[in-house]
């Protein structure tokens, strides 16, 4: 769909040359700050009904009764959907054809396998009636004991972790490395369950027209959602039209279509009218994924010069009883620090929770806080400055694979961030710095890293006789700025000013833009856009250079440049003509081209591809009361080509603040007996507020990467969390002398 630009929006700044690299403000910013951006739940098709989930209050067992009569008797209630009358599906929701196909709770039976699982849907004329109807169901259960916590069940080694990585990996002889070490450390860290908690809850407005389905719902992966829904309902994918122009955050929880969203579609089918279903905040703590808790043990050995002789990283994590997602926390130790021996391993327990899922920097965030803490402990054990220790163990090639890096400006990140922060002169010993007011002051650092991933994407470009351009790809804007960054790439790809192109995205009837996840959306869809632009420009050049009437005749496609709506001879820029002239001469209303974005298998095999960064944190801690305040954060990041420095900086800020959140705030508190989450609301599930982040600085370090893709883009969506969380933890140690071993860090951990 087209971004409905606000009437008062100023045109983009007048610029010379390329759009890429310009710090444009968000093209959708006007719509958002004026409240006119239409999110999924803002849609109200005629005849629409409201659906509200009834969810389980137990963790494990089965529903033995629901008072359907009472709910239906409530004024305004139209229907109650339960396992007894739920419309049939073409695919078993418990089937799993591939690792990205997560099992869904779609009222397939009366079983309960986690708290907040859907057990019925009440459909009514008003939200209030549906809400009360759901309350009137008064479910009764047969309850079995809940399995809770990292030791809540028998552990096992999963077949794979993350996206199919081996659970156990080894390079070199770790035990020998530890044996030969001059200095050794061993430490165990715990991280809690965390929930994505996007501001916008999962919402869907679904309308059926025969076997055609029209949906408004936020999705980070439109084509995957379309395919999954089509499979469940046994209809052709092109019969499913999903509109997702804006997401109020996703963070991975909107990567796959979730059970509640499908229940909204089922409800619409059951009643034969459009239905809206919006999750309540507490209902987001269960069926839409979470970051699983971990317990990680790191062992490191160092020689007399502070060089690592071995890294061993073991992670215990959890999954649900009925599906597989295993947080690949230990894999964080594969790429950052040079060591002759590295061993990583995972084991897991199955608990009565919803299935964990990708959550912003899955594996990297949890693994990084443990790894960066342990590196800090190792540096201190060697009597070395943490930055010096990291430089001593700088990986010139990817340690686990021995592959060269496609590019790696981490050294520059360390230098620039340390300089901006003022790291020099930091005392090695903890509890040595106090400010004028007597607060304990600590400085800590962490290394940030995230792989440069690409998926598959397609785009379609059109040049029109009036000289304007069109670029289409079903990209997803989660708030990261896709509407703007992709329009910039499109403008350059078409050789037009950004105001001369119509960029369409956020709809499943556009070319598949792949998933907005894995920090790979800009690279993947951006390359599709770039290539589509190149394809249509090639057609245009073809028209011109083969026509004797054109000043470009005989230049050959390689011999022309596209810029500002004109083609020029590369060897003589005084000779050129406008797109309009070329198309008019050819008698064409428009021409089109298609492009794809995908990883290059050859370079994939040859190079390790990662973005890097360095984060420095200053904290103050009240010496008596243990309250922590992060007073400064400075990060420097190298992630290849920057399309829009304003948006990229915002991504780093957001990631860094999430890192603070990881270290100091976020935790789902689960009742040890019932398995119910006790703080399933934003008053008690804490994320930082403005007052918690007084000073955040993100430096963009120049990095040219000729191998990741033609545009040189790596990705910036997730890296900011990594490094930051560890930097804050290390700063807390430096301030207090107390080494944080569980997160978030609590006042009682520092009271002494």
């Amino acid at each position: 769909m087209t971004l409905e630009l606000g009437l008062n929006q100023q045109p983009a700044h007048t610029r010379q040359g390329s759009s890429i690299g310009q710090p444009l403000t968000r093209r959708d910013g006007f719509l958002k700050v004026t409240g006119t951006a239409r999110y999924a739940a803002d849609n109200h098709p005629p005849g629409m009904l409201y659906a509200v989930l009834a969810v389980s209050s137990i963790a494990r067992g089965r529903v033995v009764s629901l008072d359907i009569e009472a709910a239906k008797a409530h004024s305004g209630v139209v229907e109650v959907m339960t396992p007894l009358n739920r419309p049939a599906l073409a695919t078993d929701p418990d089937a799993k054809d591939h690792p990205f196909m997560f099992r869904l709770d779609l009222l397939q039976n009366d079983g309960v396998r986690y708290p907040n699982q859907s057990i019925a849907v009440v459909i009514a004329e008003t939200l209030e009636a549906a809400t009360e109807g759901a309350a009137l169901l008064s479910p009764r259960y047969e309850t079995e004991p809940a399995r809770v916590g990292l030791d809540g069940a028998e552990s096992f080694v999963p077949r794979g972790v993350g996206v199919g990585n081996p659970a156990v990996q080894q390079m070199g002889d770790v035990e020998a490395g530890l044996e030969s070490a001059r200095t050794r450390i061993e430490a165990t860290y715990e991280t809690p369950a965390q929930y994505h908690n996007a501001m916008e809850p999962h919402a869907i407005v679904a309308a059926w027209d025969g076997d055609r389905l029209s949906i408004d719902t936020p999705s980070q992966g439109l084509a995957m959602a379309q395919g999954r829904i089509a499979g469940l309902f046994g209809i052709a994918p092109q019969n499913v039209h999903i509109r997702s122009p804006f997401l109020g955050g996703g963070f991975g929880s909107k990567g796959m279509i979730s059970g509640p969203q499908v229940l909204g579609i089922l409800a619409a089918k059951l009643v034969g009218r459009p239905v809206k279903l919006v999750l309540r905040r507490e209902q987001m703590f269960g069926p839409v994924g979470h970051r699983a808790p971990t317990r990680q043990t790191l062992r490191m050995g160092m020689d007399g010069e502070g060089r690592l002789t071995a890294i061993s990283h073991h992670a215990r994590t959890t999954s649900s009883t009925f599906d597989d997602f295993f947080e690949p926390a230990a894999d964080a130790s594969h790429t950052l620090y040079a060591s002759p021996a590295i061993a990583t391993s995972h084991d897991a327990v199955r608990l009565d929770t919803g299935t964990p899922l990708f959550m912003r920097a899955p594996g990297e965030a949890t693994g990084s806080i443990a790894l960066e803490s342990a590196i800090d402990e190792a540096a201190h054990a060697c009597g070395m400055d943490p930055l010096e220790f990291r430089l001593r163990n700088y990986a010139e090639v990817e340690p686990m694979t021995g592959k060269p890096f496609s590019s790696k400006a981490l050294r520059e990140c360390y230098e620039q961030a340390a300089e901006a922060f003022g790291w020099a002169g930091r005392p090695l010993e903890p509890r040595r710095m106090r400010d004028a007011d007597g607060y304990l002051t600590g400085w800590g650092m962490g290394t940030a890293t995230f792989p440069a991933i690409m998926f598959q994407a397609e785009a379609r470009a059109v040049l029109r006789a009036d000289g304007s351009g069109l670029m289409e790809t079903g990209a997803q804007d989660m708030g990261q700025g896709a509407w703007t960054a992709f329009a910039q790439i499109a403008a350059d790809g078409l050789g037009l000013d950004i105001d001369q192109i119509d960029f369409r995205a956020g709809s499943s009837d556009l070319p598949n833009a792949g998933i907005a996840g894995g920090s790979g959306h800009t690279a993947t869809a951006g390359m599709a856009i770039h290539n589509a632009g190149a394809a249509v420009i090639a057609r245009l050049a073809d028209l011109a250079t083969r026509n004797e009437a054109s000043p470009l005749f005989g230049a050959g496609n390689e011999g022309v440049l596209a810029r500002g709506g004109r083609l020029y001879r590369r060897d003589d820029e005084s000779r050129g003509e406008s797109y309009t002239e070329i198309l008019a001469r050819a008698g064409l209303a428009e021409i089109e081209g298609h492009g794809k974005g995908a990883p290059d298998p050859t370079s994939q095999e040859a190079y390790a591809k990662h973005a890097h960064g360095a984060v420095f944190a200053e904290v103050k801690v009240d010496p008596d009361l243990g309250q922590i305040r992060v007073t400064r954060l400075v990060g420097a990041f190298a992630a290849g080509r920057v399309i829009n420095p304003r948006l990229v900086r915002s991504q780093y800020y957001g990631g860094m603040i999430w890192g603070v959140s990881f270290a100091l705030h976020e935790e789902a508190v689960t009742d040890r007996r019932s398995g119910r989450i006790q703080n399933a609301n934003l008053a008690e599930y804490h994320v930082p507020v403005n007052a918690d982040v007084p000073s955040v600085e993100a430096l963009l370090v120049h990095e040219d990467d000729p191998h990741v893709n033609a545009l040189g883009i790596k990705g910036v969506g997730e890296i900011g969390i990594t490094g930051t969380a560890g930097a804050v933890a290390n700063a807390v140690w430096h301030a207090t002398g107390v080494r944080p071993r569980r997160f978030p860090i609590r006042i009682e951990d520092l009271l002494g």
Binding site: S57, I58, T126, E128, A129, T131, E132, A135, D437, Y439, K620, D622, D624, L625, G626, Q627, I628, R629, T631, L664, H665, V669, T670, D671, R672, R673, S674, R676, Q678, N679, A683, E684, H686, P688, V689, N690, A691, D692, P694, P744, R746, I747, E748, L751
Partner: protein, 352 residues
Amino acid sequence: MRDFDYFRPATISDAVAAAAEPGSAYLAGGTNLLDLMKGGITSPERIVDISRLPELNRIETLDDGGLRIGALVRNADLAHDPAFAKAYPAVAEALLSGASAQLRNAATVGGNLLQRTRCSYFYDTASACNRRQPGSGCSALGGENRLHAILGWSDACIATHPSDFCVPLVALDAVVEIEGKEGRRHVTLEEFHRLPGDTPQRETVLQPGELIVAVRLPAQAASFASHARYLKVRERTSYAFAVVSAAAALVVDRGKIRGARLALGGVAAKPWRARSAEAVLLGADADEASFVRAADAALADASPSGDNAFKIELARRIVVRALTSALAGTPAVMPALPASPFSSLPGVRHDA
């Protein structure tokens, strides 16, 4: 939505008459009640909306020098009233440390006194809670109770009262003015909230239908203005309830403590007046040793109700710090981070 009757009285007596019906609830700012209704924690059959009663909206100085604050005065309006903040700085600081700017704009004085506990089991209708459903038990016992009470709790209930505002108020001998069918009565704030005992559902001494019309501060409360602080410790800088808080107010003359007030928040089912600590302080040297003795006295009867033993030591230290800060003197301007241990750090607006 569950149907309820809605009644908007024109006068206080109409309000009291209307609320005398069983199942009634007064609605003022609605910052707590509406959440409780949406969550199914309370289901009043009749809402008596007092939010437009004009006579409850005033701040008045009384003939005896005391202050009378109408029950509908908004938290933000009271905190930003210059005369009030000057005379009762610890109260203003407590108000500004509570909730968020948006909530403070809506929440009222009377409603603040009557806000319900933040115990998660009280809010979770699938859990047992004697406060919500008498006789059902207490799921917080043996559960996730890191933030629960360390003073005055019982086996029936270990919840805490979440108010910041009430903590300096109880220290300053505030009095609650109550209108009922039998007329008007005055109850000290210290007596207003009840400890749980065997009847945690009875949270205050209000009789059914009674209405808080005002909170009074006696003239003497202003005598602490130059040495009064509120200190609130929590893990998030704003929009979080206290792990433990304290209000301290002193009158100091030539190094001797001539007047002392101390109360704790986040430690019990009521704002906790620490009279034994005040007794230790009165006449003592204004120094750290006295403050430590006072802290020991304040927490002498404390005991953990679960995984919260740390709160006892934390409360001791907060008492010492609050008294130390009060001795140092009330800041000339409201700190950037009100009530925070980091209140002296510059650079943050106080309503951040």
